[in-house]
């Protein structure tokens, strides 16, 4: 499965929130161009694991190496490392005081130091990739949820990350808006982007994922290609989880 050095390598991740032991020694290793899907019941620790991968959450112990950079090393410039890791959030988190274009250009200008014209050219190209260049001058609240999420994807890919993290990207969307976001994600995958996706979109996982991890109670219970996870699940907890999904 792994061809070449992994882009993302998280090993032995533990995370405590006070007395709560949310991650109990999790490994997540992602190869270049791979799409890894993380599924599991709410509270299983999947979002926390994802947030450990760019240190939005500080792991209590373990190691996280992204593109050869040790994220947990005190000497690591975390801001420089995060530029290589795109993240898309459940609640979009677009900046409401800036247009779509402003949202995409902000980090290009203030972090990478690009000039206005260059940043805007990059941003227009990124918005074009998510099919929203005509909304460049719209403010987030003038956009639908699906459009906001696509702008958020453009904001992340404009920085040319080596890996993209998606934290339940469609969970806050009305059902009719989910398709547009998944289409953008699929195109991103086809362009060779390495992706880690936490989501309940099982149809998308079946169709697009290289590998699926099933998490429960802070542990990876089972992992494998989608055909195996959805076709012949072994763990009783995974079977129960899939049965539960089928009922809805």
């Amino acid at each position: 499965m792994l061809n070449g050095a992994p882009i993302l390598e998280a090993r032995g991740i533990h995370k405590h929130f006070g007395t709560l032991h949310v991650l109990k020694g999790v490994d997540l290793v992602v190869a270049p161009r791979e799409l890894v899907f993380i599924i599991g019941p709410s509270g299983s620790g999947k979002s926390t694991l994802l947030r450990c991968c760019n240190r939005l959450e500080e792991p209590s112990s373990g190691s996280v190496v992204v593109d050869g950079i040790d994220l947990l090393d005190r000497r690591t410039d975390i801001n420089a490392a995060r530029r290589r890791i795109g993240m898309v959030f459940q609640s979009f988190n677009l900046y409401p005081h800036m247009t779509a274009l402003g949202n995409v250009t902000l980090a290009l200008r203030r972090v990478l130091g690009r000039g206005r014209e260059e940043a805007e050219a990059i941003a227009h190209a990124a918005l074009k990739r998510v099919g929203l260049d005509e909304k460049a001058n719209a403010y987030p609240l003038e956009l639908s949820g699906g459009q906001q999420q696509r702008v958020a994807i453009a904001r992340a890919i404009a920085l040319e990350p080596r890996v993209m993290l998606f934290d339940e990207p469609t969970s806050a969307l009305d059902p009719e808006l989910v398709g547009g976001v998944l289409k953008v994600m699929r195109e991103l995958r086809e362009s060779g982007m390495t992706m880690v996706v936490v989501s309940h979109e099982m149809g998308f996982a079946r169709a697009a994922a290289d590998r699926v991890l099933f998490m429960d109670h802070g542990l990876v219970v089972e992992e494998g290609p989608p055909a195996q996870i959805f076709g012949e699940p072994r763990a009783e907890r995974l079977r129960g989880f899939l049965r539960e999904l089928d009922r809805h």
Binding site: A81, M87, Y95, L106
Partner: protein, 226 residues
């Protein structure tokens, strides 16, 4: 004389008003200058303190909270008098103008810091996370993402507080600042007629009604659709 004539003679005495109008105008411009200084330095200092507080250095934050509570608790007049009469013994002799400016700056800064701080806290955590995830530093995130939103949220309470405190320039009359109220009450004493005070009230309206209207305009200008 009828009651009406009596009323007009007392409060709208044209002869007295004409005589004291130039002084009230002098007081008006002095008040405008003093108020502008207080607004500029008070808001800047308040914003600066709120920004420092957001870095959450504990001893520094205790100091800020202590000073802010102190200046919110003390009556502004007490602070003015303390600066004006309290500093000369240690070798500093601020004028009445400087004492009033400093005192009201500290009071406005204290209230403004609390308002800006509340605004910073009101910006959702997701905004910080989104910006930090693109590699922006804490300081850049604060400057470009959080403060613009925090300041918009704080404009209505900030406008009200700013107006309330700049009206405190009238307290400068106690330490011989020749602002509107001081000129007006001097006029009342000299002429034995309250009409200069009417002029003073009009001068305050001329000064603050536009400020209130400006606050309203800023509120709509900086609002964005939710």
């Amino acid at each position: 004389m009828t009651n009406w004539d009596n009323f007009v003679f007392t409060f709208f005495n044209a002869r007295v008003m004409a005589e004291y109008l130039p002084r009230i105008i002098d007081g008006f411009f002095l008040t405008v200058g003093l108020a502008a200084l207080i607004v500029a330095s008070g808001l800047a200092l308040g914003l600066g303190l709120a920004v420092i507080r957001s870095f959450r250095v504990r001893p520094l934050n205790w100091l800020i909270v202590f000073l802010v509570d102190l200046f919110r608790a003390l009556p502004p007049l007490v602070i003015i008098v303390l600066i004006y009469f309290g500093l000369p013994p240690i070798g500093l002799a601020p004028s009445g103008f400087v004492s009033t400016w400093l005192a009201l700056t500290f009071v406005l800064a204290a209230f403004a810091e609390e308002i800006f701080w509340a605004g910073i806290l009101a910006v959702p955590k997701g905004q910080w996370e989104a910006a930090r995830s693109t590699g922006m530093s804490f300081a850049r995130t604060l400057l470009w993402v959080v403060l613009p939103q925090a300041v918009r949220l704080t404009i209505p309470p900030l406008t009200n507080r700013t107006i309330a405190i700049t009206k405190g320039t009238a307290l400068g009359s106690v330490v011989a600042v020749a602002e509107i109220l001081s000129q007006a009450s001097a006029g009342v004493s000299f002429s034995s007629n309250p009409s200069p005070l009417t002029l003073g009230a009009i001068a305050y309206l001329v000064l603050f009604v536009p400020v209130v209207a400006f606050g309203r305009w800023v509120e709509t200008r900086f609002a964005w659709r939710r």
